[in-house]
């Protein structure tokens, strides 16, 4: 694929297959304008799909949504151009996002299970089917035998029978295999592209493609909550009030547990610590620290209230955590065993990465164990506990049923969105994708309410 300026040949003759798996970049010439425009259009489609999913749209609605998005953004009067646009935009985005992707293994082999083998494991296959509430397998259903490594999703969910390293997957589970293959191929390609980009291309394309690529990677897909922002209007008083009014349930729960137990395990410290680090601005923290310290009577600080900043700085974070933890483990052990990891979160230790707050996706996919309080309450709480927590947040019984309905269908972010709407009494069209977004949206609404009532 080559980018050329303005003039170009017609691509009409270079028709490519209509079901592309994007194995290799096409040998096409692309106008520089199109390079960017196509990518933007594709991003609009992807963003639309992502929004639809987080709004909990049903498969059928999703089909329609995708068709509409595709029509609106990717169509072209010439049929061949559609295919080209599809492929070009895919590869541009690959270049754009290659810097954040991970490596993965690659490989695939299918083997249909013979009749005699099927008979010998029929009972086990039946047991698996029953365990995931699927119809019992019959002799005319084709099963494939693949190394378990190739179907991690099915293994993780115990949705396949595994024996001596092989997973026996039913024909209707093959999509998982293909998805895994595509994902792994893509991530491998991304990492190769990344190497090429950083080693040679970025320099060569310094004045041409590089600015476009850099801009694309940061410009779209909604606000970026990894960038610090200040909320200087937060009331200096009422920190607990703030946790109650504007923290999403996951953070509120951690916060309350910290207050109660004066301790959080690693997962909880990370989830809450990073959330607070960025967004709940300094002033909020001062209050909390002051509050806590005066409660324990260990320190008397009062001049801090005047410091306003864009995030809890390292010193204050240390103070904050220490105030709680020292009640449980003592100040000396805090300094010795916990301070490091807080400095680490702030990029002052270890590999010196300035860690960003966790997104909903990351929180939902975490696996809290015994004694842990992190994770997504909509996913990880029992129904009973979730109901109790929601009613404590002030969700009424009608709202509660709506939320529980989403939880049952495993739309956790949507459940959180509905909670937000129930608590704030106003809609949240973008859906909740990030705890810090929940916080900032909540603050916006509360502040506008304040202004209107004053």
């Amino acid at each position: 694929m080559e980018a050329v300026r303005s003039q170009r040949k017609s691509l009409a003759n270079d028709v490519v297959s209509t079901l592309p798996l994007y194995r290799s970049a096409p040998a096409l010439e692309v106008r520089l304008e199109d390079f960017e425009l196509f990518a933007m259009d594709r991003l609009r489609v992807l963003k639309g799909i992502s929004d639809g999913l987080s709004r909990g749209k049903k498969p059928k609605e999703m089909d329609n949504l995708v068709r509409d998005l595709w029509k609106a953004n990717m169509m072209h009067p010439q049929a061949s151009e559609v295919v080209n646009k599809d492929i070009i935009s895919h590869f541009v985005l690959r270049l754009v996002y290659c810097r954040t992707a991970l490596m993965a293994e690659f490989g695939l082999s299918y083997k249909a299970v013979s009749n005699s083998e099927f008979e010998s494991i029929k009972d086990k296959l039946g047991q698996v089917a029953k365990s995931i509430s699927q119809p019992l397998p019959t002799a005319d259903v084709i099963f494939y035998k693949v190394p378990f490594e190739e179907v991690p999703e099915l293994v993780a969910g115990r949705r396949v029978f595994i024996h001596k390293g092989n997973a026996y997957i039913a024909a209707n589970q093959v999509v998982s295999l293909v998805a895994t293959q595509f994902r792994s191929h893509l991530s491998k390609a991304l990492s190769l592209t990344n190497r090429k980009w950083t080693s040679t291309l970025r320099e060569q394309e310094k004045d041409r493609l590089a600015p476009i690529v850099e801009a694309l990677s940061t410009s779209y897909l909604g606000p970026d909550y990894s960038q610090p922002k200040g909320f200087s209007e937060i009331s200096v008083k009422d920190i607990d009030e703030l946790a109650k009014s504007s923290f999403p349930l996951c953070m509120r729960h951690l916060f309350e547990k910290l207050r109660e137990d004066h301790h959080l395990k690693h997962g909880g410290r990370m989830q809450l610590g990073l959330f607070l680090k960025m967004h709940v601005a300094m002033n909020l923290f001062d209050t909390f620290v002051l509050d806590t310290l005066s409660e324990t009577g260990s320190l008397g600080i009062n001049s801090h209230g005047t410091v306003w900043g864009v995030g809890l700085n390292l010193d204050d974070a240390l103070l904050f955590w220490k105030a709680e933890f020292s009640q449980k483990v003592g100040a000396e052990r805090f300094d010795k065993e916990y301070a490091y990891s807080i400095r680490h979160n702030y990029g002052r230790e270890g590999k010196r990465t300035d860690y960003t707050p966790y997104s909903c996706q990351k929180i939902i996919s975490s696996t809290p164990g015994v004694g842990d309080h992190h994770g997504c309450p909509y996913r990880h709480f029992s129904e009973e506990n979730l109901r109790a927590a929601l009613s404590k947040m002030g969700v009424n019984s009608r709202g509660m049923e709506d939320v529980m309905d989403k939880v049952q269908n495993r739309h956790y972010q949507l459940a959180c969105t509905l909670t937000f709407e129930a608590v704030h009494g106003s809609s949240c069209d973008s859906g909740i994708n990030h705890p810090n977004q929940y916080f900032s949206d909540s603050q916006k609404i509360l502040q506008s309410k304040n202004h209107s009532t004053v």
Binding site: L102, M103, A104, E105, K124, Q127, V128, K130, S131, I132, S133, F148, E149, P152, E153, V155, A156, G157, R158, F161, I162, H163, K164, G165, N166, R195, T198, S199, H253, H263, K265, H266, V329, R333, K336, E337, Y338, Y340, S341, H344, E349, G350, K351, T367, P368, G369, V370, G371, D372, H373, P377, H380, F381, S382, E383, E384, N385
Partner: protein, 455 residues
């Protein structure tokens, strides 16, 4: 990657368990001098090197001579000094460094794409070439995670009444790793205080991606919502149990629960304890019936049978009786057994290639006990309270007199048995298959290049 991860490991181990510092098992003067003797005379340096080389230390042209040097070791020295990203060129380099630095703890990390000691030089190039490429699949099971289902001790303590929980974990995981996942080279080791470590060392296991590791860890997970925020610790849904869970239940869990833990942990002996179990039964009529019986029972208490066994039988009988045949209640019995027996893994340890894990044969600084290997086929006989301690070994060494044949020093102590288990159940079969793999990979590569030449 990070030091943080190690710290996390230490953190969970030392803080969250409500740790006890007095440690009466620690021999007086667990100190650098004792440890020096241990590393000098007893620690099986050569075996560790053989293991970590996976056959690549041989003369065969297929051997990857750079393999061992790319492995990360890390040492924790006294006064909390922590050395990451150590690497060694040879068996003697490793041995000399251990003897010289005398670490209180040795951790083993992944094999990286390049020598981890030189990672900074590679970092200059801008490519992220410094990345883990191989790592044993590891599992870490810690008794503190069972504190809500054991009444004999808590936190850092273990005794023969709760140790069966570890035996169960070994049996369940070992069988699944071999029969389901097809792994053959699995090392189990006592963690030195209150848990066990598992190292799956097949080549296939060492090359798993993080995603695949996470999938295996999830396969083993039944505590979907494993904390106090959730009502049920174990939720078994669906019309049947997955074959893996069904096998674990019938072959291990049920038996251990009924014949050991019920009575040894006195699971039904007090109102507080049986209420915890009744909580898992969602049918009010069943629970109130049982509650009624047991409250009376306590007053009369004439039964000769173990009260725990008797009450468990009553509970089972009522749940399985005609009027409560509902599928949901049937599953209750299994859920209770799973809650009180099923292995509880530290998931994060297994999910990532770059997690460090303490090497076997280290001495636990708090207990003085050696992290000895456990033969999974004899795991029922393993007794953590008789694992050799540093001071005991030194005593044995002294009694044996001063002999010059250093090779057999451990054979004169109770460590000898552990080294033999390590070799016969793990190292020898492992090295045999490593050798075969290297040879066959080499000859097929040779064949390939021959073919391409003749073409």
């Amino acid at each position: 990657m990070t030091r943080e991860e190690v710290e996390t490991g230490m953190d969970e181990m030392e803080i969250d368990g409500g740790e006890q510092r007095e440690g009466n098992a620690v021999p007086e003067g667990f100190n650098a001098n004792y440890l020096k003797v241990y590393y000098g005379k007893l620690f099986p340096h050569a075996d560790m090197f053989k293991w970590m080389s996976y056959g690549n230390d041989g003369k065969h042209p297929g051997c990857d001579q750079s393999y061992f040097v790319r492995r990360e070791f890390s040492f924790t020295l006294g006064n909390d000094i922590y050395l990451r990203f150590l690497s060694f060129n040879s068996a003697s380099e490793l041995e000399n460094s251990i003897k010289e630095k005398c670490p209180v703890k040795i951790d083993i990390g992944p094999v990286y794409s390049v020598d981890p000691a030189k990672r900074r030089a590679y970092a200059q190039t801008g490519d992220n070439v410094f990345t883990p490429v191989e790592r044993e699949l590891i599992f870490d099971i810690d008794m503190t995670d069972y504190d809500d289902v054991r009444y004999c001790c808590s936190g850092a303590d273990v005794c023969l009444d709760c140790w069966p929980l570890m035996t169960i974990a070994i049996k369940v995981l070992d069988t699944a790793l071999r029969d389901d996942f097809g792994f053959n080279h699995i090392l189990w080791a006592y963690s030195g205080r209150r848990g066990v470590h598992c190292w799956v060392c097949d080549e296939k296991a060492r090359r798993l991606t993080n995603e695949q590791r996470a999938a295996i860890a999830d396969y083993f997970r039944v505590y979907k919502v494993g904390n106090e925020n959730s009502h049920k610790k174990v939720s078994l849904t669906g019309l049947a149990l997955h074959p893996f869970l069904a096998r674990s239940y019938t072959e291990v869990l049920r038996n251990f629960f009924e014949t050991k833990l019920l009575s040894s942990q006195n699971l039904f002996s007090s109102e507080e304890r049986y209420e915890k179990i009744l909580d898992m039964i969602p049918d009010e009529s069943v629970t109130s019936e049982l509650r009624g019986k047991w409250q009376e029972n306590r007053r009369s208490s004439i039964s000769k049978d173990d009260i725990n066994v008797a009450r468990w039988e009553q509970l089972k009988h009522l749940l399985q009786s005609g009027k409560h045949k509902g599928q949901g209640l049937r599953r209750c019995i299994e859920e209770i057994v799973f809650s009180y027996t099923y292995p509880r893994l530290d998931m994060e340890v297994s999910k990532h290639m770059n997690h460090l894990l303490k090497a076997p044969f280290c001495v636990h600084p708090k207990t003085g006990r050696v992290c000895v290997p456990i033969d999974p086929n004899q795991c029922e006989d393993f007794d953590p309270t008789t694992v050799p301690t540093l001071s005991k070994l030194l005593e044995e060494l002294n009694m044996g007199g001063v002999k010059a044949d250093a090779d057999n020093d451990w054979d004169r102590t109770s460590l000898g048995k552990s080294v033999r288990i390590f070799r016969s159940t793990f190292l020898q079969p492992l090295l045999k298959s490593c050798k075969e793999e290297i040879e066959s990979a080499y000859s097929s590569k040779l064949q390939q290049s021959k073919n391409s030449i003749s073409w």
